[in-house]
Amino acid sequence: MVASHYFVLAEELTKEFRAFIDPEYVIVDAETQRPYECDGLSMYCAMPLIVLLPETVAQVQRAMQICHQRGVPVIPRGAGTGLSAGAMPREDAVVLSLAKFKHVLDIDPLARTARLQPGVRNLAISEAAAQYGLYYGPDPSSQIACTIGGNVAENSGGVHCLKYGLTVHNLLSVELVTVEGELVRLGSEGLDCAGIDLMALITGSEGLLGVITEVTVRLLPVPEQARVVMAAFDSVKAAGDAVSAVIAQGVIPAGLEMMDSHAIVAAEAFAKAGYPIDAQALLLCEVDGTVEEVADHITRIEQLFLSLGATLTRVSRDEDERALLWKGRKSAFPAVGRISPDYYCMDGTIPRGELAHVLTEMQHMSEHYGLRVANVFHAGDGNLHPLILFDASKPGEFDKAEEFGGRILELCVAVGGCITGEHGVGVEKLPQMSVQFSPLEIAQFHGVKAAFDPAGTLNPGKGIPVLKNCQEYRALDPGRGHVARQHPEGYEQA
């Protein structure tokens, strides 16, 4: 389609939208649209046709109906903190922002639930629940900014997911506007529902199956106590083994995070948390629960770390010290941002036992590409976040970083893991989808998509690759793709 066609379309749509949405919230001028051109993965950007900020569910429904009738693509958007370009616009599409839906609708302290509009920020849920001694479990590092709608769309995790689960484990009900503009409710106030678990399909669907307009989450009682042990190691392998040893003790820590030497140095310079800057690896292991439980576990874990060669340990004595020890970890991304002009955050998951191997391999790749890589990650559940450091102003350097990143994800698949633990596929990881999944599996995903969105106008071009492109990606390098993962029987029929 040509530019003038979009111009006419934008004019007509604007008129239609402004008939029922505050004209100020139907954004057509490039300058006001600019903040919407990308999400947290700012290397991927494009301008939208129109940005809409509806204020009621009825407006969302009406807007969806109009777009559906005209076959105009719609891209749902929360806070735009996504890290896989899931909310990236396109020139022929309407960006539907849920930013105006900011209300905590209801908290039921007895049933321990919160009913939320989709634009409520993750942290705001726990803040609103605190007066009842309750909180919301999943805590992405972006929790001051990201929305619950975005969390559902990405199935977001956080530091405390090993013990308290991902978004999918903490949802009771989701209200959805379908691509046709119909309102449906999935789940209930109970713990399960009859039939196919549609809520499971919606969680992590990256805005491809429907627009989330309300979310009911489960709240948890705030633990009596939480304490953190910091332990330094002189090799990544020793730290990796220590992670497995904690689990083998029968303890499920509330959080178990690891940083490598680049990350330790950067985080310490930024947060002054008292991290030993000469350590090769640092673990932060938090236990929470009853006072009795924490007392039991914290000593066991500290002793265990020392017996496994920790060069230094420190246990938080009070809330201030706990906050300080976490401060470095929580600000690790911006901290790394200070030691490099740009960084690219990856998100593969591996079996914990492969940690040392994968980190060593990554170091080799780092040398090959001539780019540094810092690692800060959820070690307890094997979710890696390698940060590839690069300089976008140097021609070709982002391309190199991207290729490096892709190779890391393929390595994750090769050791039995996956290409994304919590950031989603978006646009970014489309090529690697064909490494993790066979063409038949991808075709089945398209079947699921078509069940919700037969015309394919909801967030098109994200999440699931077009099969033709998978073949092209594999053809680039025969060493890629299915050789990386043994496809057992049945696949040969593809």
């Binding site: 039939g195 196919i196 399909l201 089945q444 699921v448």
Partner: protein, 363 residues
């Protein structure tokens, strides 16, 4: 911990047989009833299929890594075999699945979304699932999810199976998150009426104490504590109540529905509702589990009437056992949800081979 299990499953003859049976059904246009251990044949509608496919033969633990907290088993593996293997490593299936009359398999447990009394605290079978393999209605053997704790690549087809009652395909393999067993457990009993028990169970569930079970029957509230010894003992002394002897038998009988209440032939209705929904229909034959989120009602009732009551309580009702199983037994789906169900069925099983009419007459 001792070495992990990694069994060579390179001889995929049983898998191949399943695929061939599906392919035959496709060619003849016939339908298949998927049977695992047969322990849950009473669940769902009475529906006739042309032939049975024995998914229970497809069994065996494929891999188990205690340190990874991950177990992968063929779907026909009996729960008992899995639980025995886990117990040797001090681990367990946290969702505490019902075995019913015995022989229950992992695949059937996921397809029927069955979890035991610990479910509100430990999560459900659906929550524990990390990935599956499935033969769809085109005879394609597909893999979804994975064997790691977190995986958001592609739609969550694995968890979508929970409650689908086999309508999307034959689950052949399941990877699960497993958990360490608690060091200690104890059950407290208190006399209490139904209405008060609902409030009490919810109030206690809101406290940061190691609650792992809460049920009510015959005027008694049962609270199960599980965790570190000191925390269990400390909580018991704070909360009070009689200490129940042989507590694990009690919870097992409840989980497996061994008590006459569940199996004496009367229609058995299962409400899955807001745990704090005030008690209603006082005087009827009720039992509560899941801290009030799962409520069992025994007797002959009008389904439509119970559906209205379930709706008011924020949830759904199912005719779980007995009664009229030729009509619908699961909660009525809205028109929009029916459309989604039908289209998903079409996407996985276009020739409608698997378990026709078992979930809904229209599926």
């Amino acid at each position: 911990m001792p070495a992990s299990i990694r069994r060579d499953m390179s001889k995929h003859d049983v898998t191949q047989e399943l695929i061939e049976q599906v392919n035959c059904a496709r060619t003849d246009g016939s339908t298949l009833e998927i049977v695992g251990g047969g322990s849950k044949r009473f669940i769902g509608r009475e529906a006739a299929a042309d032939a049975r496919i024995d998914a229970g033969r497809h069994r065996g633990i494929v891999s188990y890594e205690p340190v990874e907290l991950v177990l992968t088993a063929r779907a026909g593996t009996p729960l008992q075999e899995i639980e025995d293997t886990l117990a040797q490593q001090g681990q367990m299936l946290a969702f505490d699945p019902p075995h019913f009359a015995g022989g229950a398999t992992l695949g059937g447990t996921l397809a029927c979304n069955q979890s035991g009394p610990a479910r509100p605290w430990n999560g459900s079978v659906r929550d524990a699932v990390l990935g599956i393999r499935l033969v769809n209605g085109r005879g394609e053997h597909l893999r979804f999810g994975g064997q790691v704790m977190k995986n958001v690549a592609g739609y969550d087809v694995s968890r979508a199976q929970a409650g689908a009652l086999g309508s999307l395909g034959i689950i052949t393999e399941i990877s699960l998150k497993v958990m360490p067993r608690p060091a200690a457990s104890m059950t407290l009993v208190k006399e209490m009426d139904a209405a008060r028990a609902i409030v009490e169970m919810n109030t206690l569930a809101g406290r940061p104490r190691p609650l792992a079970g809460a049920c009510w029957q015959d005027g008694q509230l049962y609270l199960r504590l599980a965790g570190v010894q000191a925390a269990v003992a400390g909580t018991a002394s704070r909360w009070g109540g009689e200490v129940l002897q042989h507590e694990s038998n009690f919870w097992r009988d409840l989980r497996d529905q061994r008590q006459p209440f569940f199996v004496d032939g009367e229609p058995l209705w299962r409400f899955s509702v807001n745990p704090a929904a005030p008690h209603w229909r006082d005087g009827a034959d009720w039992r509560f589990d899941w801290g009030g989120a799962q409520r069992w009602l025994r007797g002959a009732f009008q389904r439509a009437e119970l559906e209205r009551e379930a709706g008011r309580a924020g949830g759904q009702v199912t005719l779980f056992r007995g009664g009229d199983r030729a009509g619908e037994v699961f909660s009525t789906q809205s028109a929009a949800l029916q459309t989604l169900h039908r289209r998903l069925k079409e996407a996985f099983d276009p020739m409608r081979i698997f378990n026709p009419g078992r979930l809904y007459s229209w599926m």
